[in-house]
């Protein structure tokens, strides 16, 4: 379970949230929409333990230490944030996983076909192939990384914003399948990506509004 209690957060002297509260039950799928710059990404980063709230508390499965929270979540950001290392190292981040598990996550994130075309396969060094890697391939590596960690909480921050329609659909399908038994928080500008989610929240003026509490907005957005 994810819980934010009266969280306040300021960024460069600008108040992003004040007294923000949210409770997400285990296994729930929650979509978050809102204008650019309203704090959606900041919210995910707070939950991931990347930022510390100025006031209030964030707990994930009863844990409130940001260092420990980081261990309980997986995140896919707008930019893939790859390292100039091999594909394998970017997926496993240096942790020991079985070959079978790595193979499964590569298949789930539609990487297998592409990897098979590379001379060194999954051990191909990415730093020298900077101009050959498409945005879709890079983002799928980031998704494979999130899948590989297999954390119970999956945070998605516009994971398909850099992808074309076909790639985006494939990636969303893979993420939906992977997130079936997980708690998912998905930030997006495109409400149509949130079909089938348990809850949809809109962030506005530093507050989170339930979609079903604002039928007019839901009608317009969906």
């Amino acid at each position: 379970m994810i819980e934010l209690k009266n969280v306040a957060f300021t960024y460069q002297e600008k108040i992003v949230f004040q007294e923000l509260s949210l409770k997400v039950e285990k296994g729930q799928k929650v979509g978050i929409v809102g204008e650019s710059g309203c704090g959606k990404s900041t919210l995910l980063r707070l939950i991931a333990g990347l930022y510390r709230p100025a006031e209030g508390g964030v707990t994930v499965d009863g844990e409130n230490d940001p260092e420990k929270i980081s261990q309980k979540v997986s995140i896919v950001l707008q930019t893939p944030m790859l390292l100039p290392l091999t594909i394998r190292e970017n997926i496993t981040m240096g942790h020991a996983f079985s070959e079978e598990w790595i193979r499964q996550v590569c298949a789930a994130s539609n990487l297998t076909k592409w990897i098979e075309t590379l001379p060194n396969g999954i051990d191909t060094y990415l730093g020298d192939r900077a101009d050959e890697l498409s945005g879709g391939q890079a983002q799928r590596i980031a998704i494979a990384r999130a899948m590989c960690k297999n954390a119970q909480v999956l945070l998605l921050d516009e994971p398909t914003s850099a992808l074309d329609g076909e790639n985006a659909a494939a990636v969303l399908e893979a993420l939906d399948h992977f997130g079936e038994d997980k708690t998912v928080l998905h930030v997006t500008h495109r409400p149509e990506h949130l079909v089938g989610y348990d809850r949809i929240l809109r962030m506005e003026g530093g507050k989170l509004l339930e979609a079903n509490a604002s039928c007019a907005w839901r009608a317009v957005s969906l």
Binding site: Q71, V73, M81, L83, P84, L85, M93, A130, G135, A138
Partner: protein, 307 residues
Amino acid sequence: MRNLRLLLKRNRIWVGVAVLAAIFSNLSQMIYTYYVGELANRIVGRTMIGLAFLAVLGGFLVSNAVTQFLNQYFGRFAAEKMAHSLRMGYATRLLRKATNDREGLSVSSAMSVAQNELAQADAYLGNTFFDVFGMAFTGILATIFLLLQDILLTLTLLLPTVLILVYVRFSSRKLSGIVSSTQTEKARMNQVVYSAVSAFPAVKVFDGEALCKGAFRKRLLAWEGHATKNGRWHALYNTLSGILSRVPLLLLLLVGGYMVIRENIQIGTLIVFLNLQKSLTLSIMNLPSWLSGFQVFTTNLSRVEIE
């Protein structure tokens, strides 16, 4: 070389002025040396040294000092103009380049280039480029001037020089490959650091700190290995070329001394050769390091995209 041609073309006026200043400086130096040799001949031959002769000698002494100053001044100025064109060309290229999807790696690559290849090429242009050019120019002009003085004595200097040049050509090729691989390793090492910083959220959430440290250590060791190899080969080749470059002076003293004793040439001619042989031997002695420095410069320059 494309980038170097572009920089030279963009600053052709100042480069032209610097080249002219180098020509005048060298010509003035040679004529002055010629008159010093003539002075020695008159002293040995107990010939009258007139006031007009001394005035001409003094005039060339002053002109030598002035043209050397102008040579340095315009050389530095042209170098700074070229360095400025390089920096601005890189900035313009970056601004116009379409943003890559993989923002993290692109930014780290750009930072790596700016802090390594661009900074080193910039420093070379500002500090070394025109000095090397000037010395090479002096060597060529000195050779022509000495050939006009005495062909046999010039060949005594030139023949071992040609052998040294062959050796230098071989060593610079070898060094170029080593330098290039060292540069590649350094860029890879820096890229790991910049990427780890720009990909901080991913590193933290996925607990990749140990991976980054390990990758950096691996790259550091690889770079250290290349840098050590690079240093060893440079030391070896430079030591050998240093020894070889002394051979022409020894031959000049032996052959020139013998010719003076046999009265085939005057003492003044030998003095001119002894004065100007430095222009040749110094150029040769420094050629390996200049060439390897120039190779590093062109390698760095070829990795900087400019507009």
